[in-house]
Symmetry: C2
Subunit: 352 residues, 2 copies
């Protein structure tokens, strides 16, 4: 071990950030000494100097909703590979709190992933003008986004229910501000009409087990013999409510959930529209990373979303990317499909 030569401030800095500018020996020496002294660079000072923080934020309406944890998880894992630390914000399904969180986080993050944002379009656009933003399940032209397209799976669901002999469906709706809910309503209305079925939409505020359970009386009143719920948790609630009334599934009633979360893996297992939340998280992270790397805050090439699209493909659905649209926001679209399980058993149901 050679005697340690004194080096300057900048040499130390360079040893960490751009070692190729120094002689290997110097780098080596600095790094070793630093390790021995337990020196670690001060993030705040670095950020102050460079304007870069190495942090991103992901904001979700409710981390306790089982759709989000896998998304956040794969996002964080992907972020780690780019050495980005991730802030988590839970807006509690409130646009107002979402705005507050964003304001609080903005001064120390380089970019945002807003998952199922409840925020107004205007506010999102204002934010996106400031720094890279990737949306998940919100379709704003010109802003990078990952969309889980439920229309495929929803269509399959309606057709299956028709085949089982149902004529009157109920849709347990999700939050009004949710893009996914909007897409599901629309698809459902369109496809049902084409198939000659009627759909009763039942509003259920915040998607929860309790909400599902309580909506059963409305379902029964509607005369529906099958229901599609906004998500698997609501669906579980419906299942419980039906049981209490002695309506058995799938013998007397068919049920379909959405998202294919942990909540669908029960006994009996839920028929559900698979959503690939984990793929969406990975894709969103990838997109944001690309945005961050390109100097002008726009994707430099087609690399973005590659992994996400692959993952979507792996889920068996039609995954793919649409290129730039009008404003220049990359859009990754993840397809869905119906996973048929116990709650709509073909062997049971109306035609059994």
């Amino acid at each position: 071990m050679a005697a340690a030569a004194r080096v300057s401030r900048s040499t130390v800095s360079r040893a960490f950030t751009r070692p190729q500018l120094l002689s290997p020996a110097t780098v080596e020496q600095v790094l070793t000494t630093a390790a021995r002294l337990g020196y670690v660079g001060n993030q705040a000072a670095r950020a102050l100097s460079t304007g870069r923080f190495g942090n991103i934020a992901v904001v979700v309406p409710d981390i306790a909703n089982p759709f989000f944890p896998p998304l956040v998880r794969s996002l964080q894992l992907a972020a780690e590979t780019a050495d980005l630390a991730v802030f988590l914000g839970d807006s509690d399904e409130s646009a107002e709190r979402e705005a507050k969180l964003i304001a609080r986080l903005a001064p120390q993050v380089e970019g945002f992933v807003l998952a199922s944002p409840r925020l107004s379009e205007q506010l999102i656009r204002e934010l996106a003008a400031t720094r890279p933003v990737v949306l998940v399940n919100r379709d704003l032209d010109g802003i990078a986004r990952v969309l889980i397209d439920s229309s495929g799976g929803m269509t399959e669901a309606v057709l299956l229910l028709k085949k089982l002999g149902h004529q009157r469906l109920a849709y347990l709706a999700g939050p009004r501000d949710s893009w996914s809910d909007g897409q599901r309503r629309t698809t459902l209305a369109r496809v049902s009409e084409q198939a000659g079925l009627t759909v009763e939409v039942i509003e259920t505020g915040r998607p929860s087990y309790a909400a599902g359970r309580e909506s059963v009386s409305a379902i029964v009143r509607s005369g529906a013999t099958a229901a599609i719920a906004f998500d698997d948790v609501v669906s579980q609630g419906v299942l419980a409510g039906l049981e209490v009334r002695g309506i058995s599934v799938p013998a007397d009633f068919s049920l379909v959930g959405c998202d294919d979360t942990l909540a669908a893996l029960t006994t009996p297992a839920l028929t559900t529209v698979s959503a690939g939340a984990a793929s969406a998280g990975a894709a969103a992270a990838q997109l944001l990373i690309t945005l961050l790397q390109s100097p002008d805050g726009r994707p430099a090439d087609a690399a973005a979303g590659g992994e996400g699209a692959a993952a979507a493909g792996a889920s068996g659905a039609a995954g793919g990317r649409a290129g730039e649209d009008g404003g220049g926001g990359e859009c990754v679209r993840i397809g869905t499909h119906l996973v048929v399980r116990g709650t709509t058993a073909v062997r049971g149901g109306m035609v059994a």
Copy 2:
């Protein structure tokens, strides 16, 4: 609106951080102008100057495990009230990754909440020597911690199973590094012996639906007629595996999960040991906030954990706090109790 007088740098700073030093009129004026201009202080610069970041980190082994989201959620909500932003780290059940995450986050957080850490005691102690650390479900003397004490609920579970006529139980174990798992094993062994029952421990690596499902052959081989699983997710897997083999629950077999997560709210609903993850999150946040506020990094008074204890009480269990022990780490203990639901129905079971 008076004409805006030019004020100095420092006045602006004070208006935000210590308004009591300024005349109300000045404060008012600065704040209004700041709002109009959209000015927000630069966190990095503030941190550089004060050494405080206003950030904390919560590290979990697997955010996709339904035990953690409610914990993280209430933690983040509580942190918000103290204007703390929260980083989320997912260690993927690996001690090594946990260490890396902590190292990455350490330079920009004021404190850590380590939930179910897989890290070695030594590393945890080293970290705790550096900055405030609150542990969840890890019992290290002298370090602040929140413990969900499963022994109460586990004991009730064993007694219920005995009453149902079972003599041979299986325990589907959790990760070896998990304190909760250790506590559950120990309690189970002790109580079962006292009750004259035998317990077969079946190892299942990472707790998951698949692991539970695959462990069914071992359960059957063991001759057990009832099983207690490390958590509800594993329990659901077991349920599915049993069904495949035509073993029906609770008629032929009794099943108990742990944590009382979303995964227990199914049809049939799972009998489970309620764990109050949300209370634990709130209590941990509270504890950390108190630690952060006391200049020496130790709680100043008994305020810490008050909310958590209250919440624990609300869950119907015996919640409470132990005061300082040897080293000075506050310890909040949250009790548990058995929630009896469909998978161990008293009307069914072995004695039906």
